[in-house]
């Protein structure tokens, strides 16, 4: 049986930002499936990312969607660069 892979907080944030970047503007359900998170945990992470200014909330009637901010895009770019650096040494995130 394979070992369960632990995902760090920063890894989960990057996964969420990656889904938003891929989709452009996206609702919570799609993020939940894309980032493989439960609804409760997703809510906590979305609030955290909103506080950091990495994503923005867009209200359209009763529907809420999320978009990536410039800061979020830069963070994701940095994250991917350093992820490649770490993997070159065999350090998993």
């Amino acid at each position: 049986m394979g070992r369960v892979k632990y995902r760090s907080k920063v890894r989960i944030c990057a996964d969420i930002l990656g889904v938003i970047l891929r989709e452009g503007e996206v609702g919570p359900t799609k993020i939940m499936y894309g980032a493989n998170l439960s609804y409760d945990r997703l809510g906590k992470y979305l609030n955290y990312l909103l506080e950091l200014g990495l994503i923005e909330e867009v209200k359209r009637g009763d529907r809420t969607t999320y978009v990536l901010t410039e800061r979020g895009f830069r963070f994701l770019e940095e994250f991917r660069r350093f992820e490649r650096f770490s993997r070159a040494f065999g350090i998993e995130i």
Binding site: R84, A88, F89, I91
Partner: protein, 202 residues
């Protein structure tokens, strides 16, 4: 080879190596700040220590070049060789800690050089064999170009130490040792450039 020429050659090689070491240390620290993984901090301290060792060797060589007395030259050169060997060994211990990701206590890796005898090149070879094996396993698992460059860098550093250890038998090995180490640092630099540019990013 005339003595000052040997030292000038060494100063040049060590300066290039120190520059790449500090660059890698800086990238490791930035990566640690973003990703928060402790092995990246070990890498940072390892490369910083390696760079400091190389810079101190450059200054020791400068002192030797300027010193008039042959007795001072001999004592200073052997002291600098021993100190830098121990510093290198400590930095390789940190690389081993970073790459193993086991619960190995990093304090032990740093203190190790204080407890061992001066045959540092052989000890460096022993530690580097482990580091090279870990980086080879990482490359086998990831098949990434960056992983290959890191493996090549550590392998060339290891080969460099083997040449240094053999240099008392044939002075030519000393030259080969430096060339090999320089090639290793250039491989590390190539990895940094690739990561910086995001080459092959999916």
């Amino acid at each position: 080879m005339h003595l000052p020429h040997v030292l000038l050659f060494e100063m040049m090689m060590e300066s290039v190596g120190a520059f790449i070491s500090f660059l890698t240390a800086y990238q490791s620290l930035r990566a640690f700040r973003v990703l928060g993984r402790r092995p990246l901090l070990y890498l940072h301290f390892g490369f910083t220590l390696l760079g400091v060792g190389m810079v101190s060797r450059v200054f020791a060589s400068l002192y030797v070049v300027s010193a008039a007395s042959p007795g001072v030259v001999g004592r200073m050169a052997s002291l600098s060789s021993l100190t830098c060997g121990l510093v290198r060994l400590a930095s390789y211990g940190l690389f081993a800690a970073a790459l193993s990701e086991t619960r190995m206590r990093v304090e032990a890796a740093v203190l190790l050089p204080l407890l061992v005898n001066p045959y540092t090149e052989f000890l460096c070879v022993a530690v580097m064999v482990y580091v090279v094996a870990r980086s080879a396993m990482n490359y086998a698992l990831t098949s990434s170009d960056e992983g290959l460059l890191v493996f090549a860098a550590f392998l060339l550093m290891l080969v460099g130490h083997v040449f240094f250890a053999l240099s008392p038998f044939r002075p030519f090995f000393y030259l080969l040792g430096h060339v090999s180490q320089l090639a290793g640092f250039l491989s590390m630099l190539a990895m940094l450039v690739r990561v910086g540019r995001g080459v092959g990013e999916g």
